[in-house]
Amino acid sequence: MTDTTLSTQESIFTSTARDWSSDMSTFKGVPWGKAMMWIFLLSDTFIFTCFLVGYMVMRMTVTEPWPVASEVFALTVWGVSVPLLLIAIMTFILITSSGTMAMAVNMGYQRRKWAVFWLMVATAALGASFVGMQCFEWTKLILERVRPWYNPMGAPQFGSIFFMVTGFHGLHVSVGVAYLLIVATRVVRGKYDHTNFEIVEITGLYWHFVDLVWVFIFAFFYLW
């Protein structure tokens, strides 16, 4: 009963039923922290989706005009107005940080501590620069007299929901940066030497989730 030899021939339903009806652990071979992180992320998904549903409802019910995102978020470079330039750069940065994070996880399982350290620090640096750009974008909007309670271009809900959701996402990124730095230093200090470095993967899960949320924010707030 406790033998977890797995045949790859099993159908996905058989294997699921078997894991769920086994003793000791349901997610075979998944460390506690990782299981917990997944469930937390599930809960966080509900938070973000509720925010996004709020956005949808606002957008669909207001009768005042909604600003055109690609004009609002355009940057003027050398006299030319490029739509969504800053957002494109931010997206680029966040995807890159996801890439470095994935590499860090890989290095972790190879027990290359310094590689893990530098890759995580790079990830954190990219994350921090993302937050910096978000500050820039907020400043720009505020200078254009957009407020959480007011928006010169039309529906005030535009400002409300924008600041709230990007703010909440930015908070997640900032927390993630701190989390990354803490784990990175603890890795090189040898705190996790007795483990399999799954902590790097757990941190990575969180970080990729933040990236994932950005994918949706990018689509719904800037392109829609």
Partner: protein, 127 residues
Amino acid sequence: MATEGQQHPIKIYFLIWLLLFVFSFFSYLVDYLDLQGNLRWFLIVVFMLLKAGFIVAIFMHMKWERFALIFGILLPPIALVVLMFLMAIESNYAWNTRVWYMGEDMAPKPKPPEHLHHGESEEETHY
């Protein structure tokens, strides 16, 4: 707890990295080319879901997890789909009642952002 961990050839991460850029670029293009209407919504959502799918499947290693975990995590959000769907219907209804019964303007035009029309607005500032 004995685990092998998630170890995969680095090549695949680079591939996904690249793909994410490509998809982001395409969705950016949707805006740049100013596609409108159903085509726009369709493309945006498709690229969004593709990107999300790759992040979850490869970067978060969902693809290599056992189905016990995959089902456990991916089934509950169905409730969110229901919420979203019903709220869309509800909002549509609310908008209709506002427009029909309260005589609101049906398709008002937004004012352009300020960096596109300097110094035109005379409205009071709300600080």
